[in-house]
């Protein structure tokens, strides 16, 4: 039976309360007057309130690191934007990609970029790569309150570490936990599929251009199985955003090069839709 909450007329004992068979007050309130519970305040689903950005992949190569993100933002089951940018240069030697609540994520990136530049200008020297990764963790931790309300922001950070002369990748959780990843990593709704693809494709001795190709392949697999991740939009010529970081600094892969790589991947998928074949043993 449904609980009638608006009792009309003076009734000493509402009859529907007699029907409850529990000794938990919380259960009774949840069933009869859920608006009184703290959890019921605020939006039921944040997905319908703000766009969500989806899959980011990053992988280290022999001479640097590659980060790529698809271009789709979703709002519930709708596509909110087809050409959103989720991968950014953080400074001259690092890149950051963001999955999660798009508006907050872009604000976090904006703040992070100013944070790094501000430090560099005041101190006269850039932060170490670990220092940058830690600063990003603090910013994400600051978002914990909103994350609990459903507006989660999960970044992926990668950069060139001048001290050890290699590219490094850092992943995060919503509480600001920062973890270094070896080889490759992926975040966002399609990350499971992208990581699966990278497991089979990744080689530590990749050149940067091979790394770019692997990243585009992994994003294709993510888009193949996750509706919130956008595949390459050949009709509109919208390709993933790919950023490389090497000893020479950060660079966004040009539109023409990316079109070439994407077309190559799409052509190979026409022959074998599930992607490159891996050896069994």
């Amino acid at each position: 039976m449904t609980a009638d909450l608006n009792f009309k007329g003076p009734r000493l004992v509402p009859f529907d309360l007699l029907a409850e068979r529990t000794s938990s007050f919380c259960d009774v309130v949840a069933r009869t007057q859920p608006q009184l519970l703290p959890a019921a305040r605020g939006p039921a689903s944040s997905a319908d309130l703000a766009p969500t950005a989806t899959t980011i992949v990053a992988l280290t190569t022999a001479d640097g690191v590659v980060m790529a993100g698809d271009r789709r933002a979703t709002m519930g089951s709708l596509i909110a934007q087809r050409d959103i940018q989720k991968v950014f240069a953080a400074d001259e030697f690092s890149a950051v990609g963001i999955a999660g609540s798009a508006g907050l994520a872009i604000e976090v990136v904006k703040l992070f970029r100013v944070e790094l530049e501000h430090y560099e200008k005041i101190e006269g020297a850039p932060l170490t790569l670990d220092g940058k990764a830690n600063r990003l963790a603090v910013l994400i931790r600051g978002n914990l309150g909103l994350a609990l309300q459903g507006f989660v922001v999960i970044p992926l950070f990668a950069g060139w570490d001048a001290e050890c002369g290699r590219g490094r990748i850092f992943s995060y959780d919503a509480t600001g936990g920062c973890y270094e990843e070896t080889g490759f990593h992926s975040v966002g709704s399609g990350s499971v599929f992208a990581r699966g693809a990278l497991k089979k494709l990744y080689r530590p001795d990749f050149t940067v251009s091979k790394g770019v190709q692997a990243a585009v392949q992994a994003l294709f697999d993510a888009a193949d199985d996750d509706s919130a991740t956008g595949g390459p939009d050949l009709a509109r010529q919208i390709y993933p955003v790919v950023v490389t970081v090497t000893q020479a600094g950060v660079a966004r892969v040009g539109e023409a090069d990316l079109a070439k790589v994407t077309n190559l991947v799409v052509a190979s998928r026409q022959r074998r839709p599930d992607g490159p074949e891996a050896k069994l043993a």
Binding site: E92, K110, L111, V114, E117, H118, K121, I122, G124
Partner: protein
């Protein structure tokens, strides 16, 4: 025991404070900020590798100072904070040199006229590089908060007069960077009676041709050395083929 109080007229008070600040500034080594073909050049006589007189404030804004280090360092950091907050709150393009120069003028003016505080013994230049040479701006700020808009170059510090006199003779704003650097260094040399060594030169530019949004760049010692060493005897044929154009042959 308390010291006896004497009446000091406001005019005398201002004059004393100004003399105090001027004396402090005159002890410092000089800095030149000059426009050149691709932006703004900063050249300072500074033997320290870490205590800088020239600094980046924002994408298109640079800062140069002479006088008491701790004081202009405070002003530099305050300027970076001011610019970064404004750029974050509005947009990066909304941060301009004039706004920053005005903020510095307010601060310096207030400190100068507060009797309980010692006046700052500093002079500053806030420089902004424009999209084209006509957009370049140099603001000179004095210890009392007075602000002037300089046209081609600005010289501060102990030998400011002598260096400015030498520059007025020779300097042209359409020079390419190596020539501009050599000209400014020569003015230092003319004022001091000996050439400015690379080890004593702190050089930086706001270079509008830089691809990055941040136009400020420090010049490496090798780049400064290449510009300061006497040029090799010119070959007739190479001159006509030089890509330097008007700027190269103007002086």
């Amino acid at each position: 025991m308390t010291a006896p109080m004497f009446y000091v007229s406001p005019e005398q008070q201002i004059k004393d404070r100004a003399d105090f600040a001027r004396a402090g500034i005159a002890r410092g080594r000089s800095v030149v900020v000059a426009r050149y073909r691709d932006g703004v050049l900063f050249l300072a006589e500074n033997r320290s590798q870490s205590l800088r007189k020239v600094a980046e404030i924002y994408d298109r804004i640079g800062f140069a100072a002479v006088g008491r280090y701790s004081e202009f360092e405070n002003l530099r950091i305050a300027g970076i904070r001011h610019a970064d907050i404004r750029g974050y709150a509005y947009d990066r393009r909304d941060v301009g040199g004039r706004m920053l120069a005005n903020a510095y003028a307010q601060v310096l003016g207030t400190i100068f006229s507060t009797v309980t505080e010692k006046p700052y013994e500093v002079e500053l230049v806030v420089a902004e590089v424009g999209l084209d040479p006509a957009g370049d701006q140099l603001f000179r700020l004095s210890f009392d908060g007075s602000i002037t808009d300089e046209r081609d170059f600005s010289v501060m510090g102990g030998s400011a007069e002598a260096i400015a006199a030498a520059l007025r003779e020779t300097y042209a704003t359409d020079l390419a960077l190596p020539r501009a650097l050599a000209q400014v260094a020569a003015a230092f040399g003319a004022a001091h009676g000996e050439p400015l060594g690379v080890e004593a030169a702190e050089a930086a530019v706001l270079d509008r041709t830089r691809h990055q949004a941040r136009k400020f760049r420090r010049l490496a010692a090798a780049e400064v050395a290449a510009a300061l060493e006497p040029p090799p005897a010119p070959k007739r044929r190479s001159r006509s083929r030089s890509r330097g154009g008007v700027g190269e042959t103007a002086v």
